[in-house]
């Protein structure tokens, strides 16, 4: 079964350092999402791509977060500088769009110390 690949699985970083997460969606999925999930809460969308274009980044803290999907396939989410409040699970998902729902990767658990 095709899966969404994410790396790393776990990341510990110091406050004010830069950190990056990588995602490889299911082949053929034009839509790619980055979600953040804080413990005890549901995932919240950070950014959504359709191919290489951003279609929704309204909840992305753009002063410190950036995301790219240069060739419309894999994607990178970066935080610089990291803050203590960024500690969370970062989930990547991909979809054929609309009513199909999204398929999620294992996520990257970020701890900022």
């Amino acid at each position: 079964e095709a899966e969404v690949a994410q790396s790393p699985r776990y990341k510990i970083t110091e406050k004010s350092q830069a950190v990056a997460f990588w995602c490889d969606p299911i082949s053929g999925h034009a839509t790619l999402y980055w979600y953040r999930q804080i413990l005890g809460q549901g995932p919240e969308l950070l950014v959504q791509f359709q191919d290489e274009s951003v279609v929704d980044d309204s909840q992305l803290p753009k002063d410190r977060f950036s995301a790219e999907r240069l060739k419309g396939v894999d994607s990178t989410l970066k935080i610089q500088p990291a803050e203590l409040g960024d500690s969370a699970m970062y989930l990547c998902a991909s979809s054929l769009g609309g009513s199909h729902g999204a398929f999620f990767g294992q996520g990257t658990r970020l701890t900022v110390v």
């Binding site: 999402y33 005890g40 549901g42 359709q50 729902g101 999204a102 990767g105």
Partner: protein
């Protein structure tokens, strides 16, 4: 604001008991509805979805959900739970005319005692 409310944060059941998890969404237009499950140590998996047609939808592992448009609800049910159903369950929706962005509830932790 678009949101999802899951009524139960933590549910504890014995094996063979019946399950119903409540979910209500806030949006006045046409939506697609989903239930996701996250087993311990695993990623979020799609349990079932509704986008049109029969409001009673069946998913994997004996789960079903009913869409009641007048109540903005999409409750999840299973007639007889198993210990292996222990997991966290998330209700979500997307606006049909929109980009497919999923809006999630806060989740319900289900613990099934053997």
């Amino acid at each position: 604001a678009q949101s999802v409310s899951q009524h139960n944060h933590h549910v504890i059941l014995s094996e063979a008991a019946s399950l119903e998890l409540g979910c209500n969404y806030s949006y006045g237009g046409t939506v697609n509805l989903f239930w996701y499950v996250q087993y311990p140590g695993q990623h979020l998996q799609l349990l079932l979805k509704y986008f049109s047609g029969d409001p009673l939808v069946k998913g994997i592992k004996g789960f079903e959900a009913e869409f009641i448009k007048s109540k903005f609800s999409f409750n999840l049910r299973k007639p007889s739970v198993q210990w292996s159903d222990t997991a966290e369950y998330f209700c979500a929706f997307s606006v049909s005319s929109n980009t497919g962005k999923l809006i999630f509830g806060q989740g319900t932790t289900l613990q099934v005692k053997p």
